[in-house]
Amino acid sequence: MGVSSKEFWIKVVGFLPLLILFFISLNGSSVINIKFFSINIHYILVYYWVLRHPQSLGYGFIFLSGVISDVVLGLPFGINSLSLLFVAGVAAYVRVVTVRITLVNDWISFIPALLFANFVYFVSLYYSNISVEYIYLLKNSVFTFIFYPILWGLFSLFVNLIKS
């Protein structure tokens, strides 16, 4: 019972979200800053895959990638993992209560996910005596929200490619 090359590549491509998740954690590039823009790729990645294809991204891996992010960014252990798990939690809840898959549904429900995650992030950092720049946090949330449809489109395209 050998595995055909097509099946093999499908499996490899299926691991891509996981690879990106760990790559951005290890690389310390979970937040992309280009001049005025600041986008949290980590949140978008976790939210999309937990919402639409939970089998591709295990909660354990999300937790682990959060811990890695904390180490790389020099934050106390658990802060990023807790924020990411909150994003995953909202995504899992939305998945349970929604039937139709539309960009608008996903996009609007991303707002509470962002709010919860940033609230957790802010509170944890506040008690860790690490300075927080509120304006930056707000700017990051706004741009992450605005940027969501672009990555949603890219990820959906990617999923359709695998299916076809």
């Binding site: 295990g58 354990g60 790389v72 106390p76 252990f77 658990g78 807790l82 899992a92 300075s131």
Partner: protein, 282 residues
């Protein structure tokens, strides 16, 4: 009403407590573990510190491997940019060279004068050989966090609070030491506050990072005399760093005084850690 409330409850339970499709852990369990981890961070115990150090060393080494592709890409991009700007750079350098030639004669005279004055006050100039060199393994720079990870730690007697230099210029301090790696908090980081003195105006202030490339001077007296181009040095007031380590030049912009750093933080590969300061103060 009750039914809808029950539905929400069921949905939340389903999302957080059930393991779900192909999931090994429930979200709730992992959330509890995360909160526990955050609380454990506040506890300072030797076994916990050892475990933290091992985890950090392992993650940093893995991160070095993971950053290779981006380093290759950014290296190629920088090379291309340099080639594109070659002619422009050539003209700039030519102009700079002419200016430097003109300045040289002035500085030779000042150097001579300086050595004579030092003799006059019987100052003994000690050459510091108390520096340990290290390679920058990871460069984590964003508006939120500005730090370097270097490849030496407790194995080379590195301790928290030590000054880190790029050549002779101050760029940050050690904030976290593991067995084989350490974290440097750069002066541009939001959490960095360094006591400084300006020359020749002689004003004391705190150099405060904001995540951008140019930190600002804070807590200055109202009648300060800092001018554009004044040199900024560590004051040594906090008793950790040696005084007189060069940092940069003052750059007055409206009401704020920014500091143009002598070192280009994005282009640093090797740093020197000053072992002297802490040992001397003990």
């Amino acid at each position: 009403m009750d039914t809808s409330r029950e539905d929400v409850g069921i949905s939340i339970r389903s999302a957080f407590l059930r393991k779900g499709t192909q999931q090994r852990f429930s979200l709730f369990a992992l959330t509890v573990v995360s909160i526990l981890l955050i609380f454990l961070e506040t506890i300072e115990a030797k076994p916990l510190n050892v475990i933290r150090s091992i985890i950090k060393d392992f993650v940093y080494r893995s991160a070095v491997v993971a950053t290779y592709p981006t380093e290759i890409f950014s290296g190629s991009y920088n090379l291309l940019q340099k080639h594109i700007n070659l002619y422009e750079n050539y003209n700039d350098l030519k102009k700079q060279n002419e200016d430097l030639k003109n300045e040289r004669s002035k500085s030779d005279f000042l150097e001579l004068e300086n050595s004579q004055l030092r003799k006059l006050i019987n100052e003994q100039v000690k050459l510091g050989s108390n520096l340990v060199s290290a390679r920058v393994m990871l460069d984590v720079q964003s508006p939120y966090i500005n730090s370097f990870i270097i490849n030496i730690g407790a194995n080379k007697d590195i301790k928290n609070g030590m000054a880190v230099l790029d050549g002779e210029n101050f760029i940050g301090r050690i904030v976290d030491v593991n067995f084989f790696s350490s974290r440097i908090l750069l002066i541009t980081d939001l959490n960095s506050k360094i006591p400084i003195i300006s020359e020749p105006s002689g004003n004391h202030a705190i150099l405060s990072g904001h995540g951008s490339t140019e930190p600002t001077l804070e807590y200055l007296s109202k009648d300060h005399k800092i001018l554009d181009g004044d040199k900024i040095y560590t004051s040594g007031k906090e008793g950790i760093f040696s005084p007189g380590i060069p940092i940069g030049e003052a750059k007055i912009k409206k009401d704020t005084i920014k500091v143009r750093l002598y070192s280009e933080l994005n282009e640093i590969t090797f740093v020197n850690v000053s072992l002297k300061s802490i040992k001397e103060n003990r």
